[in-house]
Symmetry: C2
Subunit: 213 residues, 2 copies
C-alpha cells in the first residue's frame, strides 16, 4: 500500500492520541479529529489494518503496530521539525506554525528534512514543547501533568501546549504563556505567573497545557 497524505494523516492522528494518555483511540474520535465521517474512518481502517500498520477488532479501538508506529513517527517528526524551522528561521510565531506544517509534512523529502534537522542542530522538541521523534521513532519522555489535573499549589514550568486548537495558542501567547513559562496553579483554571500576576484560563486552555511534575 502506498503511503498517501491521507494515510499519513490517519497514522499521525492515532499516534498523537496516545502520546499523553494511554487509552487507544476509537473510530469516532479519530473521525472527529480528522474532520471526516465515521464511515470514511471504517474504510481507511480496513486499508491500514490490511497493510499491517494498525490492529483492529471490529467495534474495538485502534492501535498502531510497530510498523505503523514507525510510519507515524516519521510524519510527526516531519511536522515538528517543520514547525521548529518556521519559528527559528522564517519569522513565524509559535502559535502560527501548525497549519503550514500540516501541509509541508507531506511534501518534504528525506534529504531536505535532514538538511533542516542539521541546520537547526537536531532539536529535541518543537516550539510547542512537543518532543521530536528521532529518525528511528525513539524519543526521550519527560514526566508531565496536565494543568487542569494539577493540584492547587503545584508549581512547574510549561513543558508543552497542545497545538490542536489555534485559538487557544493565540490566547495563551497573548497572555505571555508559552513553553518554558513558570507557573503556580491556584485552582484548576487560575495560575500565578512569576511576576505575581494572575491569569484565568478557559477550561480548554487548562487542558491543553502540560507542566513539569
Amino acid at each position: 500500500m502506498s503511503t498517501t497524505p491521507a494515510v499519513e494523516d490517519y497514522l499521525k492522528t492515532i499516534y498523537a492520541h496516545t502520546e499523553w494518555q494511554p487509552e487507544p483511540i476509537t473510530p469516532s474520535v479519530l473521525a472527529a479529529r480528522l474532520g471526516v465521517a465515521p464511515s470514511s474512518v471504517t474504510e481507511m481502517v480496513k486499508k491500514l489494518a490490511g497493510a499491517g500498520l494498525i490492529t483492529h477488532v471490529p467495534y474495538g479501538p485502534l492501535r498502531l503496530t510497530p510498523a505503523g508506529f514507525l510510519g507515524a513517527s516519521a510524519v510527526v517528526r516531519r511536522h515538528r521539525l517543520v514547525e521548529t524551522w518556521l519559528v527559528r528561521e522564517m519569522g513565524y510565531d509559535w502559535d502560527q506554525v501548525h497549519d503550514e506544517a500540516e501541509i509541508l509534512e507531506h511534501a518534504l523529502s528525506d534529504r531536505l528534512l535532514e538538511a533542516i534537522d542539521v541546520r537547526l542542530g537536531r532539536p529535541g522538541s518543537d516550539p510547542h514543547g512537543d518532543l521530536i521523534p528521532a529518525a528511528d521513532g525513539s524519543l526521550v519522555r519527560v514526566p508531565a501533568i496536565r494543568l487542569a489535573d494539577a493540584a492547587p499549589g503545584h508549581a512547574g514550568t510549561v513543558l508543552r501546549i497542545s497545538d490542536r486548537d489555534p485559538a487557544i495558542l493565540r490566547d495563551l501567547a497573548a497572555d505571555s504563556i508559552g513553553p518554558g513559562s513558570a507557573l503556580t496553579v491556584l485552582e484548576s483554571c487560575a495560575v500565578r505567573l512569576p511576576g505575581g500576576s494572575i491569569r484565568l484560563l478557559a477550561p480548554d486552555a487548562a487542558a491543553s497545557i502540560w507542566l513539569t511534575k
Copy 2:
C-alpha cells in the same frame, strides 16, 4: 474550480512551453510533458477552459488566458524560488533541485513564500538561469539564443539551462558548464570554454542551453 496540484501542473507546463519560443502547445505535447495519456489532457482541458484559464478550439492548440497566465506565473514563481532557496541555503547543487521543487511548489503558503523571497533578497532568476516571475506575473525578459541555433563563432555567457532533463543538468555540471559560464560556439555541438578547453555536447544538451545574444 479549485486549484489542485494537477491544475497547477497543467498551467505551469503550458506556461513553460511558450517561455522561450512562441508556438502554442498542443494537447499531445502537453500529454508527453506531463507523462499522462492524451485523453487525460482532453479531460482537463475542458475543465481549465470552463474555468476561463485557457482558450481552446476543438482539435486546436492551447493558450493561457490572462487569468490562466497569472495562475501559472504563481506556480512557476513558487517553483523557482524554492529552487533558489534549496541551492542558496540548503546545500543542494543546481542540478539536484528540480524534483524537490516539483513537490514543494504545491505546498507553500503565500506567507512562507514571501518569507523565503525576502530572505533571498528577492532574486530575479533561479539556479538554472530561469527568470522568477514577480507576484503579479511580470518578469524582465533578456534576449537569448539557443546554443544549438547559434552561429559558429558566437560568444556569450550561459543565461539559462532548461531543467527539463536532470541527466543533462548532471552532465553539464560535470563539464563545469552552468549559468554564467562564458562560451564560444565552434559548431552546433562543440564549445570552447574560457580556459581554452573544448567540450563536445550532446544535441539534447546544446538545445537546452541558452546564451546571451
